[in-house]
């Protein structure tokens, strides 16, 4: 009996492993073609340089050396780092507060509020940037109109001093509701035994939020934070659209991605653009890991 079942069982498990490979195959094929190959190709391109005389030559890491001393690129990286430090904590804090308020069960109209705050996520960033651009604008923007009615000087929201803040406002408007929904979903998933235990211990709403809910949200917050690192460092759409309204404030190297775009499609310097994109990817991975390490270390 056991003599006959053993090979059959083995055959069944081999067949099942084959089925497993077939299930993941479509995803993995597209993954390799659309993600791995372009990444490797960018790495390859970044090792060459195209010159008018002599054509394309292998230059090793020269493009990277050039990038690391390129003040326009470094300026852009510092700018998005500053953007990350200002905008992301604000956005996540708002998302967290909204999610806790919704989950507390202390709100009237909570469904309406939840969907209303989430709606901007469904607005394309192009539309958000165009709309806010008009709202900020001096000609028919309501902010300038209100200031004019009150006899106050209108703040120049498209000027050099305030531009980064104006961009941060657009991105916060777009994504605070999304983060709220992610955190709210995680809050709803906290097992009710934890609440019962907290209630037995006599914990009030604030105490429960602080000692039960926020610790349980750590993985979801971490995920939101990582996505925010990626979003901040590859900022493109909003500054690219605001560039037309304020060409003197936003130049072609305002963010690293704008820089890579203009290198590739305006200056036709594809090899250097590939090196810049690659370096930007490295910066994002390093910052993401640093953030993760910092948070996990604090926990232990």
């Amino acid at each position: 009996m056991s003599v006959t079942t053993a090979p059959r069982a083995r055959r069944a498990s081999a067949r099942r492993a084959a089925a497993g490979y077939l299930f993941i195959a479509p995803f993995m094929v597209v993954f390799v073609a659309m993600l791995v190959v372009p990444l490797l190709y960018a790495g390859y391109l970044s090792l060459f340089r195209e010159q008018l005389i002599g054509g394309t030559t292998f230059v090793g890491l020269d493009n990277y050396v050039r990038a690391l001393t390129d003040e326009r690129l470094l300026g852009g990286v510092l700018r998005v780092a500053e953007f990350f430090l200002i905008q992301v904590p604000l956005m996540l804090l708002l998302g967290l507060l909204f999610a806790l308020a919704l989950d507390s069960g202390m709100l009237w109209l909570s469904r309406f509020i939840r969907l209303g705050i989430f709606v901007p996520y469904a607005v394309p960033s192009v539309v958000a940037a165009l709309m806010w651009g008009y709202l900020y604008g001096p000609e028919f923007g309501p902010i300038a109109q209100l200031a004019g009615t009150l006899g106050l000087p209108a703040p120049n929201l498209l000027g050099g001093d305030l531009m980064l803040g104006s961009l941060a406002n657009i991105v916060t408007w777009e994504f605070a509701g999304y983060n709220m929904i992610i955190l709210y979903a995680a809050l709803r998933a906290i097992p009710s035994e934890l609440y019962e235990a907290a209630a037995v211990d006599g914990a009030g709403a604030w105490r429960t939020a602080w000692s039960v809910k926020i610790p349980a949200l750590r993985p979801a917050l971490m995920m939101a934070l990582i996505f925010s690192v990626i979003g901040s460092f590859q900022l493109f759409n909003e500054p690219q659209l605001m560039q037309r309204l304020a060409p003197n404030v936003i130049d072609n190297a305002y963010t690293p991605n704008l820089y890579a775009y203009s290198l590739a499609f305006t200056s036709q310097d594809l090899n250097y653009a590939a090196a810049v994109s690659f370096l930007l990817g490295v910066v994002i991975v390093v910052v993401s890991y640093t953030v993760q390490l910092a948070i996990t270390r604090r926990r232990t």
């Binding site: 492993a17 969907l115 709606v119 469904a122 192009v126 709309m131 109109q145 979903a185 759409n237 775009y261």
Partner: protein, 301 residues
């Protein structure tokens, strides 16, 4: 895992509070309504602005309607400008995003189920590689992808937008978690004993159980493709292939040049308003599905 996911679904569906019996707070409600105004006021402005002529945009207060109600005329102008190219853009966007979202959700469902329920060799390693790829910035891929597509003649075709949008590592991650919770092993064993093939099991049993996760990935890929700007900006230079984002950005560029003299600003404003209606409608109509899909994703991360 299964029980938690079910409990979550029930709690999310019933919409009940986490702590029943807690008293509602007028102060907290008012504070949240104040925030709600911040999130909805710009959209209200957009609605008001699309009822105005260029002259009224400049002459009247932005947050209230002018005497002339120009919305029907503006809508007509949006759809007739440049031989009706706006309708074309909307159809392009709908086509690109529906095909991308359907494809991405199907790939993620197949793959997520494969990773969750089959212990083949290399499972953990491959999944780790995909998970690490979440951090690869999509815009860093856009330039090399453009160069590859240029060599194989895919630039300036719908494929240039659809193919890169089919890969959604986060979607795969979400589907794996969802499949672990929603598909009981005992059910799979029973179907196998009945002699059903693996793909028949997937089609007839698993896909139905993965429903909310599937809709979640579908909707979020739909939004990502619908909102995509960088990729089509690079890949397409034929206006009749533009999605609505690139088209509107082009009109906005013309409006900046023309200033208050042209009639392009009402086109941009009204076109923007019309372009956001379908997605908002999709989110509202499908909210039951994506909310429970997200809730299950939040159980274990």
């Amino acid at each position: 895992m299964t029980t938690t996911a079910t409990a979550t679904a029930v709690r999310a569906a019933s919409g009940g509070s986490a702590m029943p019996g807690r008293r509602r707070s007028p102060l907290l409600t008012l504070a949240m309504l104040a925030f709600l105004i911040y999130f909805l006021l710009p959209l209200f402005w957009l609605l008001v602005a699309s009822t105005k002529t260029t002259g009224d945009l400049f002459a009247s207060f932005g947050l209230w309607f002018a005497d002339d109600f120009a919305l029907p005329g503006n809508v007509r102008n949006v759809f007739t400008a440049e031989d009706g190219v706006y309708g074309r853009w909307l159809l392009n966007t709908a086509f690109y995003s529906l095909v991308s979202a359907g494809g991405a959700a199907l790939l993620a469902a197949l793959g997520g189920y494969g990773f969750a329920k089959f212990g083949f060799r290399g499972n953990k390693l491959l999944f780790g590689v995909v998970l690490g790829a979440i951090m690869v910035p999509s815009t860093a891929l856009a330039i090399p992808t453009y160069l590859i597509f240029a060599q194989v003649g895919l630039v300036n075709t719908p494929w240039a937008i659809i193919l890169p949008s089919l890969v959604n590592p986060f979607g795969l991650y979400l589907m794996r978690i969802y499949a672990e919770g929603a598909v009981p092993d005992s059910l799979l064993e029973a179907a196998r004993i009945d002699g059903a093939g693996e793909f028949r099991i997937f089609r007839q049993v698993v896909l139905r159980l993965l429903g909310p996760g599937f809709v979640t990935v579908l909707l979020f890929t739909l939004v990502a493709t619908w909102n995509n700007y960088f990729l089509p900006l690079i890949m397409l230079n034929n206006p009749s292939l533009y999605p609505v984002t690139v088209g509107l950005a082009n009109w906005a560029g013309q409006a900046t040049v023309a200033g208050g003299s042209g009639d392009v600003i009402p086109l941009v404003v009204t076109g923007s308003l019309l372009s956001i209606i379908p997605l908002i409608a999709a989110f509202l109509l499908l909210q039951r599905y994506w909310q429970s899909g997200l809730a299950a994703g939040g159980v274990k991360q």
